[in-house]
C-alpha cells in the first residue's frame, strides 16, 4: 500500500517539482505513471523509497510513515522495494551477474540461492550470455534489462520502474511488461513511470498522470498524450 497525502517537493526555492500530490495505490495494483518530460515522475518515485524527502505532506508505505524512518533503518524499507532506475545505476566495476546479485547479497542470502535466483532473473530478461560482461561492455538495451533483472531478483513487495523500456524495441518491451504483469499477478505492487503510449494501450491499467508537478488525472486506460 502506497499513500501520498498532499505531498509537495521543492528542489530549488522558486519552483515545485511536485505540488499537492495525493493518491493511494493498493497492494497488488499495477499502475502507470505518466506525464511530459520534467513533470515529476522520477521525483515521485524517489519519494517512495526515500531517496528524496518531501518538502510537505506525508507518505505512507504499508501504513508506515516513511518520513519517520531513521537513516540507519532505511534499508528495511528499501528491501521491500525493487527499483529500475531511469539511468540504470549499474555498478561499473562489477559484472552483470554481480550487479544482479547485489540485492540478494545485501540480504545475506546463501551463495547457492543467489546463483539460482540470479540465473533465473537473467534468463527472464534474456541476458544469460552476458552474465560475465561489465556494464560498459554491453548495449544500452542490455544495460536496461540488467537494471530490470536487479529490481525483480529479490522478489520485493513493490516494484518501481522508471522508464524501463526507453532503450528497448517494441518486442522486448512487450516481453518486459509481460514479466511485470506476471509478477503483479503474484500480488506484487507495480508502479511504472513511462512515456510509452503504445505500451499503456497494450496493457490497459490504472494511469496516474502528472503535469508540471500536479496530478492531473487518475484513471484506468486513459489515453496519455
Amino acid at each position: 500500500m502506497i499513500e501520498f497525502y498532499h505531498v509537495d517537493k521543492r528542489y530549488v526555492s522558486d519552483q515545485l517539482a511536485l505540488t499537492d500530490v495525493s493518491f493511494s495505490i493498493e497492494k497488488g495494483e499495477f499502475v502507470f505513471l505518466t506525464g511530459a518530460s520534467g513533470a515529476g515522475k522520477t521525483t515521485l518515485l524517489k519519494l517512495i523509497f526515500k531517496e528524496e524527502v518531501p518538502t510537505r505532506g506525508q507518505i505512507l508505505i504499508d501504513s508506515q510513515n516513511i518520513n519517520l524512518i531513521q537513516s540507519k533503518l532505511l534499508y528495511q524499507l528499501r528491501r521491500n522495494i525493487g527499483i529500475v532506475f531511469q539511468d540504470f545505476r549499474l555498478l561499473q566495476n562489477r559484472t552483470v551477474y554481480e550487479n544482479i546479485s547485489i540485492p540478494l547479497a545485501v540480504r545475506g542470502e546463501k551463495k547457492s540461492t543467489i546463483e539460482k535466483m540470479v540465473m533465473n532473473a537473467l534468463s527472464l530478461v534474456g541476458l544469460t550470455h552476458r552474465k560475465n560482461y561489465i556494464p560498459m561492455h554491453i548495449s544500452g538495451g542490455e544495460q536496461q534489462r540488467v537494471a530490470i533483472a536487479r529490481a525483480i531478483v529479490a522478489s520485493p513487495k513493490i516494484i518501481l520502474a522508471d522508464e524501463p523500456t526507453g532503450n528497448l524495441d517494441t518486442e522486448l518491451s512487450i516481453e518486459i511488461f509481460k514479466i511485470f504483469e506476471r509478477i503483479n499477478a503474484n500480488g506484487i505492487t507495480v508502479l511504472i513511470a513511462t512515456h510509452n503510449t503504445y505500451m499503456m494501450e497494450m496493457f490497459p491499467k490504472r494511469i496516474l498522470k502528472l503535469d508540471k508537478g500536479k496530478l492531473i488525472s487518475d484513471g484506468k486506460k486513459e489515453r496519455a498524450a
Partner: protein, 297 residues
C-alpha cells in the same frame, strides 16, 4: 566469523576491481610510511650515535702537593657516595711514577734525576654511562674542583656541555618530528583513502538504495583500508630495509669515514612493528570515517 571472511574476501575483490586506484593508494601509503620509518630510524641512529661520543666519561683531578691522606679519603668517600659515579681511583705520587715508567720504559731514566716523584697525585672518576650526559655530572665536577686539595682537573667541560646540549637537541627534534610525521602520515593517508571512497560514492549510494545496511557498505571499505594500510606499511618496511642497505653503499661512495660508524643493516624491529601498526590503523580508521560521510541518505 563467516561474515568477516566473506567481507575480507570482498575487500580483496574490491581492491582488484579498482586495481589502478588501489595500487596508487597503496603506493602513497607505503611511501608516506617509508618517510616515517626513515625518520624513526634516523632519530634512533642519531641517539645511539651521540652515545658513542659520551661513553666512559672520566674526570681526572690532580691534587696539590702535601695533601694529607685523611683529606684524600674524605674527598674520595664523598665522591663515591654520588649515584652517578661508577668508580673512583686514587693514584699516589709514587704510583704515578710507577705507571709512567711502566708505560714509557725508554724514558724511565729521566725519573732517576728526581728525588721525589715529579707527578702529582690524582683522583680519577669514572661515571656511569647512563649519567654520562647528565648536566648533574658537570655540576659535580665543578663542585669537586672547588675543594681545596684539588690543584687542577683534566676534563673538557666545554665539549661535554655542548654534547649534552646536542644529545638533547637530537632527542627533542626527534620527538617533535615524529609527532609531526605521525600527523602528516595520518593526514596524507586519510585523504588518499577519502579520495578513493569519494569516487565510489555513487557505488555506496546504489548499495544503500538496494537495501544494504550501513555496516554492509562500511565494512568492506574498512577492511580495504586496513589491507591497503597493512600491505602499504609492509612495503614501507621493505623499502626502509632496502634504503638502509643502500645507504652504506652511497655513504662509502661519498665518504669512507662514515661507513661502519652505524650499523645500517638491521632495522630495529620496533620501528618495523610501529610502521605496520600505524599503517594498518590509519587505513582502517580513515576508511571508517571517510565512508561514514557518504552514508547520509
Amino acid at each position: 566469523m563467516n561474515l568477516l571472511k566473506i567481507t575480507a574476501s570482498n575487500a580483496f575483490i574490491n581492491i582488484a576491481r579498482n586495481k589502478l586506484i588501489s595500487f596508487l593508494c597503496f603506493g602513497i601509503i607505503a611511501f608516506t610510511l617509508l618517510i616515517f620509518g626513515i625518520f624513526n630510524y634516523i632519530t634512533f641512529s642519531l641517539e645511539s650515535f651521540s652515545e658513542t661520543f659520551t661513553k666512559n666519561i672520566t674526570a681526572i683531578f690532580y691534587l696539590r702537593e702535601g695533601v694529607k691522606p685523611a683529606q684524600i679519603d674524605e674527598l674520595t668517600n664523598h665522591i663515591r657516595e654520588n649515584l652517578m659515579v661508577k668508580n673512583v681511583a686514587f693514584t699516589s705520587k709514587s704510583q704515578a711514577e710507577i705507571d709512567f715508567s711502566r708505560n714509557f720504559k725508554d724514558l724511565s731514566y729521566i725519573l732517576s734525576e728526581f728525588k721525589e716523584s715529579p707527578f702529582p697525585a690524582s683522583i680519577e672518576i669514572e661515571f656511569k654511562p647512563e649519567y654520562a650526559m647528565d648536566t648533574k655530572v658537570i655540576s659535580l665536577i665543578e663542585e669537586i674542583e672547588k675543594w681545596s686539595i684539588i690543584d687542577s682537573k683534566e676534563v673538557n667541560l666545554d665539549w661535554a656541555k655542548k654534547l649534552i646540549a646536542f644529545k638533547k637537541f637530537i632527542y627533542v627534534v626527534g620527538m617533535f618530528l615524529s609527532l609531526i610525521l605521525i600527523f602528516v602520515s595520518v593526514f596524507i593517508i586519510f585523504n588518499v583513502i577519502k579520495i578513493n571512497i569519494f569516487y565510489r560514492k555513487e557505488e555506496i549510494h546504489v548499495l544503500r538504495l538496494v537495501g544494504a545496511t550501513d555496516w554492509y557498505i562500511k565494512f568492506p571499505f574498512v577492511i580495504e583500508g586496513a589491507i591497503l594500510g597493512f600491505f602499504g606499511s609492509l612495503l614501507a618496511g621493505a623499502l626502509l630495509f632496502i634504503t638502509l642497505k643502500l645507504f652504506p653503499v652511497y655513504a662509502t661512495f661519498m665518504y669512507n669515514l662514515v661507513k661502519g660508524m652505524i650499523d645500517f643493516k638491521t632495522i630495529p624491529s620496533v620501528i618495523f612493528l610501529r610502521l605496520i601498526g600505524l599503517g594498518t590503523a590509519i587505513g582502517l580508521f580513515s576508511s571508517y570515517f571517510s565512508s561514514r560521510q557518504f552514508l547520509k541518505n
